[in-house]
Symmetry: C2
């Protein structure tokens, strides 16, 4: 088993050690190498260190105050323009039914999970968050209407005292079938 | 960098070596450990070795004949019932606008990418495919209308002679922003 798959854990308490710029670059590089449908690579990443912006994002993210303890947020943005080439207005939110939105969410999630696994590889820790609406996060970051924020990842060094046991999982048998549903 | 992130490559040519059952279990175990929103774990996996079923899936998957050379397919199915608890009829397809469908696609994609990375770790190779419609794949596998097939992963041992160079990627600078879009 890849070590990072078995040891990764969503981490919500960080110590105050700053995160080096070059480590952030390495995380994005791990995402860059991800596969995507027709190699469309819909992902974009906004690195946020501003305390003010982090506070605003935490607030509209179901007011998850623990987030503010993370020194870096990575805002992960999928761009549908890699799939819809005509120059027409597109507005994306949680209720959009466009097939292409499903494709770019899938592909961006793949790349973002590379980031989460890579944090574990270089001694960092992180957590996926997505408890916000597109309408609430877009103005904070100046994100256009035709992009979709798939998640905000908190990044930092884990505070070993504050992170509990691994989360429980369904049994392997419950998720495994053979030949047919 | 996690070795498997940098060396993984979508593989479309396989040799005839069969894939051991215990390696398939290890792949599913790597998916089982994935994170998901509110720990909903929407993923399910159908292991397909039947030549007849593989041929049918390849046919409705844009008739990608290379797929039939893979000894195993993993059909990756997201279940929306982890998020919608009321007992009402739900029909999911590419045009469905439900917010919960976006969430289960995201979470299942995360788990499926664990499988792809883990193939590389244990000497296997694989490829994401998703060039089918829900309506075309569902009857082949007896998959209910309230499930969504996020992808079909081909699994096998790579035929070294038949797989080319790594696919090109956007530059890191093109996908990286600071503080704002």
């Amino acid at each position: 088993m890849i070590k990072e798959i078995s040891t990764r854990k969503s981490t919500r308490k960080y110590n105050s050690t700053p995160v080096e710029d070059e480590k952030i670059i390495q995380l994005i590089e791990s995402a860059r190498l991800a596969p995507s449908g027709s190699n469309t690579q819909p992902w974009n990443f906004i690195i946020v260190r501003s305390e003010d912006t982090k506070a605003k994002i935490a607030e509209i993210n179901n007011n998850q105050k623990w987030m503010k303890g993370a020194p870096v947020f990575v805002v992960c943005v999928a761009d549908i323009r890699c799939r819809i080439k005509e120059n027409r207005d597109i507005y994306l939110d949680e209720n959009t039914g466009l097939p292409e939105l499903k494709q770019i969410i899938r592909d961006t999630a793949i790349a973002v999970e590379h980031i989460l696994l890579e944090t574990e590889s270089i001694g960092l820790a992180g957590c996926w968050t997505a408890w916000f609406s597109q309408d609430s996060i877009r103005p904070i970051m100046n994100i256009p209407d035709d992009k979709y924020v798939v998640g905000v990842i908190t990044i930092g060094y884990s505070d070993a005292s504050g992170n509990g046991n691994p989360t429980s999982r369904r049994s392997l048998e419950s998720m495994l079938r053979y030949e047919k549903w």
